[in-house]
């Protein structure tokens, strides 16, 4: 498949993520949308990696060109997991105090 399809798909996923972050009010859903943004990036990186690796591999089977894109994806997944563990802990902390995960709830309580 041409690379444009992957770019279009990743851009769509990324935009869905951004719109979700900006419009939704439930902390968990915002969080899911952020994960969607990260996964759009992962998809794009893998696609680009394949794009660079394909021709190099055809010319020389031992080539490692374009392999760093896929390596980056592993780092993103690991760091995202670390971020999730902290983020869910923060959301649980909020839920224990106000029994809600609505991010506007705290604003209202403050005033």
């Amino acid at each position: 498949m041409p690379i444009q399809y992957y770019i279009a798909l990743a851009a769509c996923l990324f935009c869905i993520g951004i719109i979700g972050v900006l419009t939704r009010r439930n902390a968990i859903i915002i969080f899911m949308c952020i994960e969607l943004m990260l996964n759009a990036t992962n998809l794009l990186l893998v696609a680009f990696s394949k794009m660079y690796h394909g021709p190099a591999f055809a010319a020389d089977a031992t080539s490692t060109a374009g392999i760093d894109g896929q390596l980056f994806v592993f780092f993103i997944m690991v760091v995202a997991a670390a971020e999730v563990s902290v983020g869910l802990a923060i959301i649980v902390m909020m839920y224990r105090n106000v029994h809600s995960v609505d991010i506007n709830f705290l604003n209202r309580l403050k005033n």
């Binding site: 794009m51 780092f75 760091v79 902290v86």
Partner: protein, 462 residues
């Protein structure tokens, strides 16, 4: 290299010390000793004595600029721990863990000052941010702290997502994650693909989020206001300056004015103008000193952005000086703020009568932030503006900045006015003689740098 490895190791040591050390106040001394070791190791590294010889394949690149900044960052953290360590002890039951998290933040900082690859930028930013999300929410029962943590976390990971998209697009355009690639895209005339430009814009937005430059600053006041004051002090100074160093490392290339694919100077000047405008104007209307300091940190970010605008050697020297002056003054102001019972402007009424020494040192810090001559802040601002004049264009930006520096004097002087000219009984916690001595030393550093800036600038030849 010394600082990166040692700070990670010291973080783990701090974590384990919570098991073996039962005396809470000993932890502060362990942390301070660890920071001192880190500082010495980093200075040794600066002058060519590296403990670890590892082939890094250009993933990290150590230059004098980054190492000098490490020294400033670690030194500022050391002063912060010495001045406010007792208040970190009071902020919760997990004191050792807080210190451990501070060491991990420093590990992220040292990565950010020496990255040579976008992967390292990403990892550095995350190691810097994730401990801060925890520190922000460390006051678990306090709703304001909760709100701050959740806002900081969501906004922080949102900007990370944007940054990753930028990195992916640049990779798509160029096939590499190396730093030179970003710089060459930034400086190139023509023939740059849409992917690369879009990627660079995404990176710019993400970094503007991290340094809280104006259209992307909206999380800053709530987070700085809601977080426990001890940790706000750390976030607003060392961490912010580290993000700036990463920013300038990323975009450090000679941009040829007119024919660049995007008018970057214009973009940066828009960022600077809106940051100065919003930061200074909203700070004027604040009723709480803590919230005023949050806005003032946005305004100070506007001045630090000048380094990114001019991108010459003077700007880099100026950024180091600015980071040092701003961090020292803000850490000092926050150290006093933590001791106050009431952090509104009224709470400072009559502080000069009850605590004359604290009022005097606080005045020096505030004058330094406002950029009054004979303080370090004046020379920091001077260097920033002179670097812009050196580039030869956009001189009106300098006039604009000077006007807003005058506006900023208004809200800093409000605190001084409350301390000296208003009647009231300012309530403070008990002040130890050691704390007073610390404040005097920090104030003395600021004044000495203000009178003899050459003393510190002579180190900055890189």
């Amino acid at each position: 290299m010394n600082a990166i490895i040692l700070s990670a190791v010291l973080g783990v040591v701090m974590m384990f010390s919570s098991v073996f050390v039962k005396n809470k106040s000993a932890l502060k001394h362990i942390a301070a000793a660890g920071l001192l070791v880190l500082l010495i190791a980093n200075i040794a590294d600066t002058y060519g004595c590296s403990l670890f010889k590892i082939d890094l394949h250009n993933m990290l690149r150590f230059d004098k600029f980054g190492l000098f900044f490490n020294t400033i960052g670690i030194g500022a953290t050391l002063i912060y721990v010495v001045l406010s360590g007792r208040d970190i002890e009071k902020s919760g039951n997990y004191v050792a863990e807080y210190f451990a998290l501070i060491f991990f933040v420093l590990c992220g900082l040292t990565l950010l000052t020496s990255f040579g690859n976008l992967l390292m930028l990403f990892i550095g930013i995350e190691i810097l941010s994730i401990p801060l999300y925890i520190l922000t929410g460390s006051d678990k029962r306090n709703l304001k702290s909760n709100e701050a943590a959740i806002k900081y976390f969501l906004m922080g990971s949102f900007s990370t997502g944007i940054m990753l998209m930028g990195i992916a697009l640049i990779y798509g355009g160029t096939g590499s994650f190396q730093l030179e690639v970003v710089r060459s895209v930034f400086a190139s005339y023509k023939g740059v693909s849409f992917l690369e430009i879009a990627g660079l814009l995404f990176l710019l937005v993400a970094m503007a989020f991290k340094v809280s430059a104006a259209p992307f600053h909206f999380w800053t006041p709530d987070v700085y206001d809601g977080a426990p004051s001890v940790f706000t002090s750390f976030m607003a100074t060392v961490v912010k300056a580290a993000a700036f160093v990463a920013f300038i490392r990323l975009f450090d290339a000679r941009v040829t004015e007119t024919s660049a694919a995007v008018d970057w100077k214009m973009l940066f000047s828009i960022l600077i103008i809106s940051t100065l405008l919003i930061g200074n104007i909203t700070a004027v209307f604040q009723q709480s000193v803590k919230r005023m300091l949050a806005y003032s940190s946005i305004a100070q970010a506007g001045f630090m952005l000048f380094a990114l605008f001019s991108l010459n050697d003077m700007a880099k020297e100026g950024l180091l000086l600015y980071a040092a002056a701003y961090s020292l003054a803000t850490i000092g102001i926050f150290a006093i703020l933590i001791k106050m019972k009431d952090v509104s402007f009224e709470g400072y009424n009559g502080l000069a009568k009850t605590q004359p020494l604290l009022a005097a040192t606080n005045t020096i810090f505030l004058l330094s932030l406002a950029g009054i001559p004979l303080t370090a802040g004046f020379f920091a601002k001077y260097y920033m503006l002179a670097s812009v004049i050196k580039t030869g264009s956009y001189t009106w930006l300098v006039i604009f900045a000077v006007l807003f520096a005058a506006v900023s004097a208004y809200y800093y002087f409000r605190v001084i006015q409350a301390m000296y000219f208003k009647n009231g009984e300012a309530q403070t916690d008990t002040i130890t003689p050691g704390f007073k001595a610390g404040m005097v030393i920090v104030a003395a550093i600021i004044v000495i740098v203000g009178i003899l800036p050459q003393t510190i600038l002579n180190w900055f030849y890189f």
